[in-house]
Symmetry: none
Subunit: 133 residues, 2 copies
């Protein structure tokens, strides 16, 4: 029942923490960890599942597969917003004061508690807007 501390688990956690991009797919992790420590994809999925269950990692179901984000127990991503481009599929992370007021506003005026970590706003990014589409 207790999570053993294995080399693989540490590598995955390490990767999640130090990734420059906030959201990472299982394949991303696999691609990187196959070089150095060699961690099987199955292990990655199994560990990610545990981490999600433990609240260490958050899972997002996106179009072409799921992405994972390290949140380290404490919140982290509750503070910002996600914009997903319907054109190129990019997931954009946004931190912004104006947007930070959104949650409190909705809670106060509409009685609804928004969970930013699960909310994705869809639309078109600048490049896709300018490139036709």
């Amino acid at each position: 029942m207790a999570d053993y501390k294995t080399k693989q688990r540490e590598l995955i956690l390490e990767y999640l923490k130090n990734s420059d991009r906030p959201h990472v797919s299982a394949a991303d992790i696999g691609a990187r960890l196959r070089e150095e420590g060699s961690v099987g994809l199955a292990t990655i999925y199994r560990q990610l599942e545990k981490m999600v269950e433990a609240g260490l990692v958050r899972k997002y179901n996106l179009d072409g597969g799921a992405c994972y984000q390290y949140v380290g127990g404490g919140e982290d991503c509750h503070e910002h917003f996600h914009l997903k481009c319907l054109g190129c599929g990019t997931l954009i992370h946004v931190d912004c004061d104006f947007l930070s007021e959104l949650g409190p506003h909705i809670l106060e005026h509409h009685g609804f508690l928004v969970d930013n970590s699960r909310t994705v706003m869809y639309g078109l990014c600048k490049r896709c807007r300018e490139g036709g589409q």
Copy 2:
């Protein structure tokens, strides 16, 4: 380029409109339409894709596959926001001045054009928040 009006498309649309449940998977549609009119799964996926693109249908990526919801083209949903309760599943429509500033703000400061009709914010409604969960 123009969407042809085929028997299959009509059947799928009909099913989406009359479904008692708001969210339906491609498999759900297939299971039902195989009985009567016989519509191939591939066609269902291809039609759903078009409908999503046309704004007739909204797509949600869930854990075990995607679900689709008919939202009708005629609605003025571009004007307001959608809050979906993770507890009871209710979809709440919200009209509000503060929220109306959100789109312009994101466009101006983040270069991203939000499509309100496709964007759903997830969280908990008042009742679900108070009732535990």
